[in-house]
Symmetry: C2
Subunit: 167 residues, 2 copies
């Protein structure tokens, strides 16, 4: 059996975004319990010069969205990046999951050699889809997803690594 | 062209651990500049009930090590988990990189269907190597690598996402 590019992309992102959705649900319940306003955790950061939770979730969903759009040539829907609450961030993740669900294995499998144009240091650079996924999309997607989880944990939300990995 | 399991594993881990090595070098230089003792950042955490930087680096290197050992059937070297300083953590990452460098494409490619036994909730469970990599190794490896970077950034070390992704 060869490795399926659909499995590598759609299944990975779907699994991880679903876990992130559960983490946000726990954060919302915990914020309600601690009487923390709906925008506080969404605006929290690990350092003053790091982006807040809103940005981490927007970026994770964007990385998955643009990866599939670029790999298949399908248009990426535009999302406004105006989420301010945990509830709105859950809706953002759901939009990501809904978009991922529109890709069939037949559309994605075999696209690993497709040449994709990305900006590297401001220059258009051609890279094949497999290298794009492994060198750019995965590190960025996992960075933002993990940092989202780390921000919540740092702020006392009872989520652990198992919520993140889903196992 | 099919997707290479060697690329997916050895190249991913080598790339990310090399980036982490550069991040630790920056942390060491920054700690020296700020006159922070050699064990302080290594023992730092994002939350009192989260593991410190030492554990994050030990876990990231262990995940890569055990993945390749299990996939190929090669014995995994035993590492003592006794690192206490950033310098020792760099040496730990170098051990990981050296171990990864011993695997040829011929040893790893095609192993994606091999059945691997892992513990799930205390029970021995059989899973194929590809699912093991995507569902368990990658989420765990990236979680610990990102959290290592997040701990340093949270503590004022001037490292950013580009140090992590290497692009």
């Amino acid at each position: 059996m060869t490795i399926s590019f659909h499995t590598l992309t759609v299944r990975t992102f779907t699994r991880m975004l679903t876990n992130l959705l559960r983490i946000l649900e726990k954060a919302e319940a915990n914020a309600a319990e601690r009487k923390i306003g709906p925008e506080v955790l969404a605006g929290s950061r690990l350092a003053p010069d790091m982006h807040p939770l809103t940005f981490q979730i927007q970026s994770a969903t964007d990385r998955a969205k643009f990866a599939l759009a670029r790999i298949t040539g399908k248009a990426a829907p535009s999302w406004a990046d105006d989420e301010k609450t945990l509830e709105q961030l859950r809706a953002r993740i759901q939009k990501g999951l809904d978009f991922l669900a529109t890709f069939s294995a037949a559309e994605v499998d075999g696209a690993e050699d497709k040449m994709i144009t990305v900006k590297v240091a401001g220059q258009d650079t051609e890279i094949n889809a497999q290298d794009y996924l492994l060198n750019s999309v995965f590190p960025n997607f996992y960075f933002h997803s993990t940092t989202a989880s780390d921000i919540l944990r740092h702020n006392g939300v009872p989520v652990g690594k198992r919520d993140f990995t889903g196992s």
